[in-house]
Symmetry: C2
Subunit: 384 residues, 2 copies
């Protein structure tokens, strides 16, 4: 039996200003984080987990006395799990601009005494990595065993290897991409427009009006969910099955309505949208989707990804999923090729999974097995 | 040189009520239509064109003295074109519930004396076909040479062959599907929610408030456009190219803004959304996307498409496009298989085209060539 991991969020305060890529300066900010396992004597077993759009520092374990509060990657990280907290000291950190604890749009700008709202500086993947590096400094961790993330988290892991190439021995980049393509940006843009044009958005200063642009957030989340799932898994889970709008009962005949729920897939999307609009911040959504749009390490090298990746020094594991059409295997292969061009040590697993982009969060045994093996080897490797 | 085709919209009034699948009754309605070419002496050369979501009866030609008013399938239909109006008498008809001329939500319900608005009955592909059949009755056309359509228009063409199997000799079904899958319905649902939750929608009775739910229409159209284009063509046309929000100039550096236009693809989508919201009716959008959702001829046969298609008698041409992910070639092949199971005469062309779903409207020479050959053979065939 696995022992129960109890998570405990912590906060680190940073007085010194962080200069963002956009040229702004954020000072007096906090990062919320959690750690699992124990840092070993030579401080060499730390693993940093970077989160994606909708997640947070709460990566693994549960909060004491609160069942059902498992972290978003609890199937991956914990005692005896693929990233084994009996061997590794794992750090989850919430990014700047988020709405789950670290300083973000809902907090007060110390320079003005007012809530940031839409004035929170536009932050990039590179800015997040810089902020995370400062956290590691304060935790006394010079070099990570590994930096790891999926999706947008994978972009941060990749960026770590370019911004701080000597600060990790391994990088694990899952279901990610070297940049967004036009279609990815397009979906983000529609979601942002839905939020920004919601009359309750008030130019991003809705807090002071006591309202929330829930209509926009719902639409944004519905669009997101479509892109997280594969066509096949949607057909398998929902197909064209009908659902009653009133009693939730499965029906066999059409109601002929344009506004009521007719199909199960509609019910699912509305539910996801409603739930999301209850807890996610609209300004955070704009910031995080923009960070996705902007990430493009090849850009400073005239689009040459191989040149961009020349800085990396660590060993890499990349994983992609066959039915992921948001960040397709092809995009991971671009990174693999760029690293191989630079003669880096790269492992790559393309997992045949039906679940689309969401697969990186799910319990696919082959996927979890690949990560487990990689970390097992890492734990056994003599450190020089 | 091709002769210039001058189009002239006409209106046919129907006093007798049309009973819809939903059980409603629409009476005193009009259909707007156009015809091109001449009906021959034995009334055997008529081709009915069914339109998709955003189109109308104005299929071919231009309006007199109005350059730039080409019909939506003007590359396909006209003198000397693949569907040659020197040989065929082509009819374009606007569907019930549309906002381009035929009776729809913006018109007055003769039973109440009030504008229909959201109370316009939910219409289905089958209802449209029934209404189109009545138009043919009035035009004195017993049997069509062919019924033809792309996308949702292809669904109508297919439904014609099942509802009125003796009334056509050929059916041409392009970039279509035997029903929507869960992902298709999901995109429609997000678009509808964007419209319905726009505060200016007023439950579908926005006309009387003197407003238009433009925010919702813009979002709906942006989502639509993403699904009409292939990933590849989006990357080729827009990629990650930047665009200035103010002067429209192409830039090389990021502006770091969550609300301004940064990328060309954003500019394109916003433009398409704005344009659409200026001319398309919100209630019509709901009705037409619902007609798409509901179409499913196999449904009455326990999901057995072969059984559903057993009624069809005519010969078929189906065309699909390799990069169409809205209605993929696989979906056309399902129809082909169902027809072959019934020993129907089926031609099928899978065109290797980069443009995604939009390809059915574009000038691909192989595609236009296939249609041209098919109609040439049709024109030569002795009629029995």
């Amino acid at each position: 039996m696995l022992s129960m991991l109890i998570a405990q969020p912590q906060t680190m305060y940073f007085e010194a200003p962080l200069t963002t890529q956009s040229g702004a300066s954020i000072r007096g900010y906090s990062l919320t984080y959690e750690t699992y396992g124990r840092l070993n004597a030579d401080r060499s077993n730390a693993v940093l987990i970077c989160h994606a759009l909708n997640a947070s520092h709460h990566v693994a374990g549960v909060y004491a006395g609160q069942p059902g509060t498992e972290g978003w990657w609890d199937n991956m990280i914990g005692p005896g799990k693929p990233v084994d907290t009996d061997k590794f000291y794992v750090i989850g950190v919430n990014n700047l601009g988020s709405c789950f604890g670290s300083t973000g749009p809902m907090h007060v700008n110390p320079d003005t005494g007012k809530v940031y709202g839409a004035d929170f500086p536009v932050v990039t993947v590179e800015d997040w990595v810089n902020a995370q590096a400062r956290l590691l400094d304060k935790l006394g961790i010079g070099q990570l065993a590994a930096v790891m993330g999926g999706s947008l988290g994978g972009m941060q892991a990749l960026s770590w290897t370019l911004q701080y190439p000597e600060r990790m021995r391994y990088a694990v980049v899952i279901a990610s991409a070297p940049n967004l393509n036009a279609e990815n940006i397009a979906f983000n843009e529609v979601a942002r427009r839905a939020i920004v044009t919601d009359p309750d958005f008030h130019g991003g200063h809705f807090y002071e009006h006591g309202v929330i642009p829930k209509r926009g957030l719902r639409i944004a989340r519905m669009i997101g969910h479509i892109t997280y799932l594969s066509d096949d898994v949607m057909n398998e889970k929902f197909g064209r099955e009908l659902r009653g709008a009133v009693d939730g009962a499965v029906r066999s005949g059409y109601q002929y309505s344009t506004q009521d729920i007719e199909f199960q897939i509609e019910s699912y999307l509305r539910y996801q949208g409603d739930k999301f609009s209850d807890y996610f911040d609209a300004n955070t959504y704009l910031l995080i989707t923009r960070a996705l749009d902007y990430f493009d390490p090849a850009r400073q090298h005239g689009g040459d990804l191989t040149a961009a990746l020349a800085t990396a020094r660590c060993k890499f594991l990349l994983v992609s999923f066959s039915t992921d059409w948001r960040f397709s295997p092809e995009r991971s292969r671009e990174i693999v090729k760029g690293l191989l061009d630079n003669r880096r040590d790269v492992s790559y697993a393309e997992i045949d999974a039906p679940h689309g982009h969401d697969a990186f969060l799910l319990d696919d045994p082959r996927y979890l097995g690949v990560v487990r093996s990689y970390f097992n080897n890492m734990a056994r490797e003599p450190r020089t």
